[in-house]
């Protein structure tokens, strides 16, 4: 029964969620080879800061073992290896291989050009590095400008160059790419745990508590609002409510399935969520960075609870991380990068994990109370597993593997970090950038037309309920937490 999840292992070969785990673990394994002295990932092309008017070296191999490699060779190997990997995944997912290959190639080229532009020194170099690049002026936007450029380019394609968007569409899989990146982030968190174990686990625990509290508040408030103020039918209210208040499209689909709503309801709500997630992503990083420049972790956690869809949340967290770290550096405070992003992803991952349980509870309520057909229907607990985000398994595995290295084999930390350094940083950021371009390409703002009450409810709920409560809850659980200082 293709397309049906029946056994616990169904989907392992053909679902994107599982392919995020496989791609994550392939590179995780390749990175680990550095323990035995083989840098199997150091060929990866990472962007390097360059100065306008000077001979351009835009990329270089990330590993020291590949120091002499030219940027053309490094980019070429990166393209070939990654194209082979994602095409393998696309094949098993039964995507149109020709369209996927061409679309992926297009996305790769667009992303690498946008990132290279974003690393121009006048745009990205922090003020304390102007001397190094011989600059007299600059915007000091950090590498966040590359992230923003990728998004903007994607949005321009998605909204103004629709034939190109259609050409790229088969390969525009932002959730697949970001989930793969989040598995790599597991390595990063593992490495961070080696340095600051207490802070990492405190962040995870605070994220779980905050998420739980936010859940209990968001859903009932917005459901009542949808039913009483906006007069939405019960099914529409429940699906939209989960989409707005929990984790976006996956929550809308999970809830739609749990309450046995017509699929069209979940699909329409999902279209709305994707567009709104982009709006949140464009506004919130700058807003939080400006309004609360001294609350990096609170901002990150609030972002995770506010911005829907993993891709948009990761993008927002990454952009805010870059902006806030660069702004703090301009004030003479040098925070370690990626802690703000980690805060935003951790709350989001908790939310993603809870959705399976929440949908199960809703299914029981609906089957046994709302649409009661005594004795005729059963809800199986396996539904929780089918809705569990599998990429989290890869994330947690990578995280705890590196924690285990630190605890049980500290003498190999140094060599383990060589491979991990490439996978958790340039490779992860590459998948982020691909996500941003892909997400922009599939976001068509014109889809908001005709959404009427749904769009209005989403906007009102976001501004009046979600964002303020998320920030308050994030503050309660994360107040006082700060990223470690560089070199501390």
């Amino acid at each position: 029964m293709n397309g049906v999840n029946r056994k616990w292992y169904d989907g392992m070969a053909y679902q994107e969620d599982w392919w995020a785990v496989w791609l994550g673990l392939i590179m995780f394994g390749a990175g680990l080879l550095s323990i035995v002295g083989i840098d199997a990932v150091g060929w990866f092309a990472k962007p390097t800061t360059w100065v306008w008017g000077e001979a351009g070296v835009f990329y270089k191999a990330s590993g020291k073992a590949y120091k002499g490699m030219s940027q053309v060779t490094s980019i070429g190997i990166t393209y070939i290896v990654w194209t082979a990997l994602v095409c393998m995944g696309a094949y098993f997912q039964k995507l149109n291989m020709k369209k996927f290959f061409l679309g992926w190639t297009g996305l790769f080229i667009i992303t690498y050009i946008a990132v290279a532009i974003g690393f121009e020194a006048h745009l990205s170099a922090p003020i304390n590095k102007w001397g190094k690049y011989g600059l007299t002026w600059g915007l000091s936007l950090g590498s966040g400008v590359a992230f923003i450029l990728c998004l903007v380019v994607g949005l321009i394609i998605g909204n103004f160059i629709k034939p190109l968007a259609a050409f790229l569409k088969e390969a525009c899989k932002p959730e697949w790419y970001i989930k793969t990146a989040i598995v790599y982030l597991g390595i990063k968190v593992g490495v961070m745990s080696m340095k600051a174990a207490g802070m990492t686990f405190e962040l995870a625990l605070a994220g779980a508590c905050a998420t739980f509290v936010a859940y209990l508040l968001f859903w009932p408030i917005i459901y009542v609002m949808a039913r009483k103020m906006f007069r939405l039918p019960r099914e529409w209210a429940a699906v939209l409510c989960s989409g707005i208040s929990i984790c976006g499209v996956s929550a809308a689909i999970a809830t739609g399935g749990a309450i046995r709503a017509k699929p069209i309801i979940a699909v329409m709500v999902s279209m709305l969520i994707v567009v709104y997630a982009m709006i949140e992503l464009l506004i919130l990083p700058g807003f939080y960075s400006t309004v609360a420049p001294d609350q990096p972790i609170v901002n990150g956690a609030a972002m995770g609870m506010t911005v829907k869809t993993d891709g948009a949340d990761a993008a927002a967290g990454a952009i805010m991380d870059e902006i806030m770290v660069a702004n703090a550096a301009a004030r003479g405070i040098y925070w370690e990068p990626d802690w703000i992003l980690t805060a935003s992803i951790m709350t989001k991952i908790w939310i993603d994990m809870f959705i399976g349980l929440w949908a199960f509870v809703l299914a029981i309520i609906w089957v046994y109370k709302v649409d009661k057909q005594p004795g005729t229907q059963t809800v199986a607990a396996s539904e929780i597993w089918f809705r569990f985000p599998k990429f989290v398994l890869g994330y947690v595995f990578c995280w705890f593997f590196y924690v285990a290295i630190a605890m049980f084999a500290p003498d190999i930390i140094k060599s383990a970090k060589i491979g991990a350094g490439t996978v958790q940083s340039p490779m992860r950021k590459f998948m982020f950038m691909m996500t941003f371009v892909a997400m922009g390409c599939i976001t068509d703002f014109s889809k908001l037309k005709g959404m009427g009450r749904l769009a209005l409810l989403y906007g009102v709920a976001l501004v009046v309920i979600i964002a303020p409560i998320a920030y308050a809850v994030a503050y309660i659980f994360h107040a006082g937490m700060m990223p470690p200082l560089v070199g501390s």
């Binding site: 397309g3 029946r6 996956s250 749990a258 046995r260 699909v267 229907q377």
Partner: protein, 83 residues
Amino acid sequence: MKADIDMVISHDGEKWIARNDSMAVEGRSFPELDANLVESLRETGRYDGSHLTVFMGFDITTIPSWIHQYAPHYFNRYVHVDV
């Protein structure tokens, strides 16, 4: 959970449709679908007097493919019927 009969369920915009190799039943609501299922089972003459568990797994491929990356599962339902 074990089932006596496995079916695939989808929605065509108006009706729920459950089918397998030997039968297909429709209904605008689940009670109507389940009633039609019992009727179809009776017509086969193979299950008279039986208490059956029917598995209906939603065919996710009937949902637009761009959504699969966010959620690869819609729902499964187990229906208990007396034929």
